[in-house]
Symmetry: C2
């Protein structure tokens, strides 16, 4: 796997974010401590805090102002993962048991609610009102995006527009918020804030499209969970939309529309159809296109060093398993 | 059923709360509108907004300051109900299908998350920071209380202290917040704020104990859901704790500890044992005791008219199905 291209200064402050996260969740009073602490220990790239901290260099970098934003975005993201795993009845995440697999779905729903609540608590004392408003907006979009996804299961006529809106709600809006709020709390200028917001949104789109590609192309060891999860669930992703648009896609359509559980052989059959159709390559081009738009957004940003760092993050995101 | 003793002034402003709630949820963009609107249409007593508005008379009554608190408390409460129904796999609530029964559990989890988020959104623009902090604290306690309940299922050795803590987290903390914050945003004096907080907390305890009694004693038509729900789930409530402490409670213990689904006959058998044991009467005395402590709290409150109104609400709460 490629090294994670975080500048030294950001890496040091990311450690502080990590400590603060751990402080919130591992020190949580009561029975939620164990599952909550477990979610934070699972680690992950902490991409949202990283984006927040990097964007925080656009004005006058002040860790104390950035920390609440970084915590809030990561907690909101983690809450979503925990609830998504309940809804998907997922057993593995990042190579470890999910909260629902380990403690049951009831504990997982309570843990997700607690993490969602903590995402707002993190902002209560030390943050400006626009951050709170922006984070509640993001949380609402995430719920809506989750519902859109559930309602569109096995819906083989899903349009690219519908897919894009879902990805915007589920992923890109929060990426945009990290970049925008990081810049705003650092007192960056209006043009830079706008540029970073656009970067974040396009990066989020690229990230999710690439994630959807990984579900088809990765191997389980690297992915930390079984491949073909989206196919099993009936979630129609961009590579699938492209594959379905080709001739001779009848068999894929049948598989995606199958209501019951799919056996491994059928999932692998679907994966082969998607790969053979060119759907993966087309989706990869689309992810690249989003990334180029992300880079275009920050083309004229005031601090050139920032552009270099954000470009490195972008290239990593779209190619993170090579 | 007894008439709901709300003063005219409060009833008028409760209509405004109702309109605002409906405005938030029925006007919600996207696919969450339907289930979200449905939850608010289901109505209910709106006890939390009522308490907020009544407590708001402790200082200088200002509806505009009280509305965000009233909305937030009701949204948080509704979020909890929607998630609880998912976890309990409940089919009926207030005589209507639950969100999970109507749209499936995935939609219900997303709807609950959206309602939880809206509880904080309602406070973003128009409220003081202590309200936001207080509401996130309440939400965290609610999650913890839910988890405590789930972990204690079929746990026949549950102590009264553990039961009380759970009830405090799940119900009384939010009642206390309604009364405290209603008073604080109206600029009431310190002593009155403290008095109202104590009233709210004790009222919440009384309310929940009485609710737990109703699960044993009410009939389905009045309750709007099947009786004996707690027994079916294995939730150990105060009447059950008292009944289990009596001699000859072996059969009740067996029933509560039964892991599989219980048939109606067995549930009714448990109900009869609980009633015969005197557990219901003892719990009723405990609820009365909490109510008396609630009234004691507001004994010396500055505005005597407020005391009369809060007493009427208290008497209604503990006797609301007669």
């Amino acid at each position: 796997m490629k090294p994670y291209p975080i500048p030294q200064r950001i890496a040091i402050d990311l450690e502080r974010v990590e400590t603060a996260l751990s402080g919130i969740l591992n020190a949580y009073p009561g029975q939620l401590r164990e599952p909550a602490g477990y979610t934070v220990e699972a680690g992950g790239k902490r991409l949202r805090p990283v984006l927040t901290l990097i964007a925080g260099q656009a004005g006058i970098y002040d860790y104390d102002k950035l920390e609440p934003v970084a915590l809030s975005t990561e907690l909101l993201h983690t809450a979503t993962l925990v609830h998504d795993d309940v809804l998907d009845e997922a057993g593995l995440r990042r190579g470890r048991e999910t909260v629902n697999a380990r403690w049951g779905e009831k504990t997982a729903v309570a843990t997700g609610n607690m993490l969602l609540t903590e995402a707002f608590t993190a902002l209560c004392d030390k943050s400006e009102p626009f951050v709170m408003k922006g984070m509640t907006d993001c949380a609402a979009l995430l719920s809506e995006g989750e519902l859109m996804q559930q309602r569109a299961l096995r819906h083989t006529a899903l349009s690219i527009e519908e897919y894009n809106r879902r990805v915007c709600y589920k992923t890109a809006a929060l990426f945009a918020a990290c970049c925008e709020f990081g810049a705003r709390v650092s007192g960056a200028g209006m043009a830079d804030i706008k540029a970073l917001k656009q970067y974040g949104e396009c990066l989020g789109m690229a990230f999710q499209v690439f994630d959807d590609i990984l579900d088809v192309t990765a191997d389980e060891a690297k992915l930390g969970k079984p491949v073909g999860g989206d196919i099993r669930d009936g979630t129609v992703t961009l590579p699938v939309i492209y594959a379905l648009a080709r001739k001779h896609s009848q068999r894929l359509k049948e598989i995606i529309q199958t209501a019951g559980p799919l056996d491994d052989e059928t999932v692998n059959e679907a994966i082969e159809i998607i790969k053979d159709s060119g759907g993966v390559d087309q989706a990869r081009a689309e992810a690249r296109d989003y990334l180029d738009r992300a880079f275009l957004g920050i083309e004229n940003i005031s601090k050139k060093a920032l552009k270099v760092e954000l470009t490195a993050i972008g290239e990593f995101v779209i190619d993170r398993y090579n």
